[in-house]
């Protein structure tokens, strides 16, 4: 009897469709994937270890670099966790601005996903359209925060600065235009026969498996589970916004695609509401332990000057305890677990990143399927390796 031997293929870490430095070890029986083993860690920078040596404020720039398509969303998760630890809350205006820019960032992140996912499967045109719209979002984010990829816009207790003049107009202008653009993308893909053949019934993850394997975000909702942190555990005033949570049906690549497209429409609604109902008021919480004094005060008042110097040089001391807080990032549930020993730097930070655990579902999706579908499945779970490896 002939001996059965499988062919082993190394996909990545330098493969254009693995979205970064993911290495997949595929064992193949002809064109069928028998076993897939993801190897991660090529982009491990030790963010958690580094955080332990920094003051609470100094960790914010590190979070930008987790999921680098979603800098502002990562900032939000971290500052909310530390605010929870301190027992403070950002003022309403800051919360609304946070929601508006976070949702804009979600749109930008989803646009990168759509662009690269379509490119992987062979539809190149979508990429150019998506990056055009992403550019307008990044311009707004740059206007607001000064940074495109790494905004570091939020501070513990509020925002680094108020929105600039003309922000509302540029956002409104973008929102007016954007829903039409989503329809444009849809004309390219949704009823496209090639697209449907490549995505329908591919990379199926059932609802039960999705929960068991710990999937979150569109990967979970594509499987038909209506679970979104923004609805289940509302933060930053999300309970005051009116939006729907789209879900899929069978949990294939096509469902996850439809879920993300609909999510973009919902994000547009949220930004619209945030801009329409933007309250007036301060943008920083009133907590002298954490918040820098106003610049005017620093120049005139010695106490304020000392306080500014102390906060900048030493940071602040957080109460002893531990908190977990999570937000809905574009990829799924982004959680921060912060342990404080009462000193001015976190004792331990564990970042529960959505891509890390969504990626661990990948073998479940592709084993026993064709090798050509691997690329479609990787694109559909929308991983960012900066976040997987931390």
């Amino acid at each position: 009897m002939a001996e059965t031997r499988y062919m082993t293929i190394n996909m990545g870490p330098q493969h254009p469709s693995t979205h970064g430095v993911l290495r997949l070890l595929l064992e193949l029986d002809g064109e069928i994937v028998v076993k897939a083993t993801p190897h991660v860690g090529h982009l491990h920078r030790g963010v958690e270890k580094l955080s332990e040596t920094k003051t609470y404020h100094q960790v914010i720039p590190l979070t930008d670099r987790l999921d680098y398509t979603n800098g502002i969303g990562n900032n939000l998760g971290y500052v909310l966790t530390v605010e929870k630890l301190l027992g403070i809350e950002a003022p309403k205006r800051a919360q609304y601005i946070r929601v508006a820019v976070t949702e804009l960032q979600r749109l930008a992140a989803h646009l990168i996903w759509l662009a690269t996912h379509a490119l992987d499967i062979g539809a190149m045109t979508v990429l150019f359209y998506c990056f055009r719209e992403r550019e307008s979002i990044l311009r707004i984010i740059e206007e607001v925060s000064g940074g495109r990829l790494t905004p570091t816009y939020f501070r513990i207790g509020g925002l680094v600065k108020d929105i600039p003049e003309g922000f509302e107009e540029s956002v409104r202008g973008f929102l007016e235009d954007f829903p039409r653009r989503i329809n444009e993308y849809e004309t390219l893909l949704t009823k496209n026969v090639i697209w449907m053949r490549r995505t329908k019934g591919v990379g199926i993850l059932t609802a039960e498996d999705a929960i068991n394997y710990g999937a979150t975000g569109p990967t979970l909702r594509g499987s038909g589970v209506r679970w979104d942190v923004r609805k289940r555990f509302p933060y930053s005033s999300y309970d005051e916004f009116d939006f729907e949570i789209p879900i899929g049906d069978v949990g294939d690549v096509y469902d996850r695609y439809m879920v993300r497209l609909e999510e973009m429409r919902q994000s547009v609604r949220i930004v619209q509401q945030a801009v329409d109902n933007l309250p007036d008021g301060p943008i920083m919480a009133e907590d002298p332990r954490v918040v820098l004094p106003p610049k005017d005060d620093v120049e005139r008042n010695i106490d304020a000057l000392i306080r500014q110097f102390k906060i900048v040089s030493e940071g602040f001391e957080a109460p002893k305890g531990e908190v977990f807080m999570s937000v809905e990032a574009p990829k799924g549930e982004l959680g921060f677990y912060v342990v404080s020993d009462g000193s001015n730097h976190p004792y331990r930070i564990k970042i529960r990143t959505p891509s890390f655990i969504n990626l661990s579902c990948l073998p479940k999706m592709i084993e026993g399927k064709l090798i050509a579908d691997v690329v479609a499945a990787i694109g559909s779970i929308d991983i960012v390796l900066g976040e997987v490896d931390r």
Binding site: V40, E52, Y213, R232, G321, E322, F324, G335, Y337
Partner: protein, 160 residues
């Protein structure tokens, strides 16, 4: 988690629940190592608790305190929208039963805890390093591991 749920777990496991803490509206159960898996399984299976979703598993190094480590599970119930934290104190060299058979999600989390802190898991299907390379020595998130690394001034040349 409301008191009813806590009482139910306490009634079931008695002295194995070492402590119940609440901080910032978050409930933490501290559970003895030997019965940790049973408690977690109960938390998932019991219809009143139904913590069907494993959000996170991680370890914390409290050196020089004894016991040195704490293994932290974050659970979530998709049915009741509740969260719970379960902590298991561990001594250096201790191993805990893997919960991979309860939640598949635990697979990579436990590999990470093993890689970063050297916590061993019994009956884990594939306990390898996940972030660091296979012949890396040490566990980076331990407090006695230097931040700049141990071999920062030596070139890394793998043997071929």
């Amino acid at each position: 988690m409301e008191t009813k749920g806590i009482n139910k777990v306490k009634g079931q496991f008695g002295a194995s629940i070492l402590k119940v803490e609440t901080f910032r509206d978050e409930t933490t159960l501290v559970v003895e190592k030997n019965r940790a898996k049973e408690v977690l399984e109960f938390l998932k299976k019991d219809p009143d608790l139904s913590y069907d979703y494993l959000t996170d598993v991680c370890g914390v190094d409290y050196q020089p305190r004894k016991p040195r480590f704490e293994l932290v599970y974050h659970l979530c119930s998709t049915q009741y929208d509740r969260r719970l934290r379960v902590k298991v104190p561990l001594e250096e060299g201790d191993s805990v039963p893997s919960v991979e058979s309860i939640w598949k999600a635990a697979n990579w989390y436990e590999r990470e805890a093993y890689d970063m802190l050297g916590i061993r898991f019994e009956n884990h299907p594939d306990l390898r390093r996940i972030m660091m390379w296979d012949d890396f020595e040490g566990h980076p998130l331990r407090k006695d591991f230097p931040v700049k690394g141990k071999d920062f001034d030596k070139p890394f040349i793998p043997e071929l």
